[in-house]
């Protein structure tokens, strides 16, 4: 039986066109773009072609504003630490939100140990940051505001434009962690008016090991990696050319198919949410119901724990993700779910279901059927359910 992958946010397949381009590059483009001979020139050619595709995907004004990195995590570290270091003379205050990814939170925690001050604004029950809260948190010392675009656990999309209106006026830099959004929903860095934006190719059917950082022209930021002059001196280290070629093709496909992919995902999301509500009682659909990533459904199943659901679905060849503390190895429930108001028990029973262009309605229906049985089985075992039933 083939696997039904409904955990796209963790891993999604390389599209055939991406595979072909990468295989071709493996055979042909082993050159180093920094070399001044013909092998180097060829490598530079494919590198810049990929950069153009990324530039188009996020509607950057120029390919020079796109820097390739090793991952979304590196991009985020680069953006935040790079700004903190370059602007230490101006101030040490950074503003963020309570539902950011650990790549943001732990980077900020590191900076706090080095003397930075961080203000984290809360979100409402839908996971939305209030721009007014950001405005209130700004001080003379504030050098950076970092807020994510689409949330990777509940899907909510933040009002980035309204926030950058504030930061632009106050002359404060803005970084957007758009890892869960780029390639999934249209992202226009000029319209959003961000200074820095992080993304990763493995979120849109590209390879792992390739991330990118958009840096608006003129933004003062230090490199994270020092060394050679790659990426215009902004990110040293020989480029992961094979991966970047794959990322470029994946970006080109995502741009071209954006509308149909979004519509396909919306249809699946709608079907999944309706099915969940119909088949399974006592659930909570997390996140904003409209301003949200179309490829993600977060559902808290009351009275049972997420890892056991994941294991039972896996037995039926269906993969989904959970944010339960037991599964993640963390000792506490997800900070995102607690922030949107789930209690500890409900947070433990939360599944994150993500899908993509290859996902079919039949696969969603199969998940719904199996999940109904799994939930019933686990609830029969649950002391929490037993108490509610009396």
């Amino acid at each position: 039986m083939s696997i039904i992958n409904l955990d796209y946010i963790s891993a999604n397949p390389l599209l055939p066109e991406v595979q072909d381009a990468m295989v071709k590059a493996i055979k042909k483009n082993y050159g180093n773009p920094s070399s001044s001979h013909r092998l180097g020139d060829e490598a530079t050619g494919v590198l810049e072609l990929a950069r153009k595709s990324i530039t188009a995907l996020i509607n950057s004004a120029s390919p020079e504003e796109v820097v390739f990195t090793s991952s979304g995590t590196e991009s985020i570290n680069h953006a935040i630490k790079g700004v903190a270091l370059a602007h230490a003379g101006k101030g040490k205050h950074i503003i963020t939100s309570n539902i950011e990814h650990n790549a943001v939170l732990k980077t900020l925690r590191r900076l706090m140990k080095m003397g930075c001050k961080v203000t984290s604004v809360s979100v409402d029950e839908y996971g939305l940051v209030s721009p007014a809260d950001i405005a209130r948190a700004i001080t003379d010392e504030t050098i950076l505001v970092t807020i994510m675009h689409g949330n990777n656990e509940v899907g909510t999309i933040q009002p980035i434009k309204e926030i950058t209106r504030i930061t632009r006026e106050k002359d404060i830099l803005f970084h957007c962690d758009a890892v869960a959004s780029v390639g999934i929903v249209p992202i226009d860095v000029q319209e959003l008016d961000v200074d820095l934006l992080s993304f990763s190719a493995n979120q849109f059917n590209g390879p792992s090991g390739v991330g990118g950082l958009y840096m608006r022209r003129g933004v003062k930021i230090w490199p994270l990696l020092d060394g050679g002059d790659q990426e215009n001196g902004r990110r040293a280290g020989t480029e992961n050319l094979i991966g970047i070629v794959g990322a470029g093709v994946a970006a080109e496909l995502a741009s071209r198919e954006m509308e149909s992919r979004v519509n396909h995902a919306k249809n699946l999301k709608d079907r999944l949410i309706k099915g969940l509500k119909k088949k399974i009682g006592d659930i909570i659909i997390n996140g904003h119901h409209e301003i949200s990533l179309p490829n993600l459904v977060s559902v808290s199943v009351k009275y049972i724990e997420g890892e056991s659901i994941v294991l039972m679905l896996d037995e039926e060849n269906i993969t989904v993700s959970t944010r339960s503390a037991c599964a993640s190895g963390a000792l506490r429930a997800s900070h995102v779910l607690l922030s949107v108001g789930r209690d500890y028990a409900d947070a433990q029973g939360t599944l994150v279901i993500t899908f993509g262009k290859e996902t079919t309605e039949a696969e969603i229906d199969r998940l719904l059927d199996v999940l109904e049985t799994v939930v019933e089985t686990l609830r029969k075992m649950s002391p929490l359910y037993n108490k509610v039933q009396g």
Binding site: L105, S324, L331, R342, Y344, K380, P383, N386
Partner: protein
């Protein structure tokens, strides 16, 4: 990740269910920590005649409950008292490191059930569960940072006032 024995007990758990006429009941854990276990025992002629469980938790917690009830069934009370977390984990052919606490939970629940049985037999009245045992922080309640006493935002893993890392003991 899990051994075959663990997966077997997880997929087809033995002795599931509440026991309405139990002679002893032990309840451990709470949802804050991610798992909760109830063990029920029926005792006849000093033997555990019947035993069952209800568990909210991960695969390991369910497998531990199932294996534990299998081991304890038919044992005398004295024999059952000797069942430890180690013996349950061994019978399961090992548990991942971060799941060993699940086996502690199982052994504790059984010992509590036995104590409850003995207390009832001795005519002792059980004290009602203290509300403070149920450490269920819900949204809206704010905890204090143990380092600087500032209000801790539940969404953060670190104190936004002093930067100290938060852990479960707050």
């Amino acid at each position: 990740m899990y051994s075959k024995v663990v997966m077997d007990h997880f997929k087809t758990p033995r002795n599931v269910g509440e026991m309405k006429d139990a002679d002893g009941m032990g309840e451990v854990g709470n949802p804050v920590c991610g798992d909760m276990m109830n063990i029920y025992i029926k005792v006849e002629d000093d033997h555990i005649k019947d035993i069952s469980f209800l568990t909210f938790g991960c695969g390991a917690a369910i497998a531990v409950s199932s294996m534990l009830t299998d081991i304890a069934k038919g044992k005398t009370i004295e024999e059952a008292k000797k069942i430890t977390n180690k013996s349950v984990a061994e019978a399961l052919e090992g548990l991942p490191k971060n799941k060993l606490h699940c086996s502690n939970l199982g052994a504790d629940a059984l010992q509590l059930a036995i104590k409850d049985y003995e207390d009832r037999k001795a005519g002792k009245v059980r004290p009602p569960a203290r509300p403070e045992d149920r450490h269920e922080h819900t949204h809206g309640e704010s905890c204090k940072c143990p380092y600087c006493n500032g209000d801790v935002n539940a969404g953060l893993e670190f104190c936004s006032h002093c930067g100290k890392e938060m852990n479960d003991s707050h």
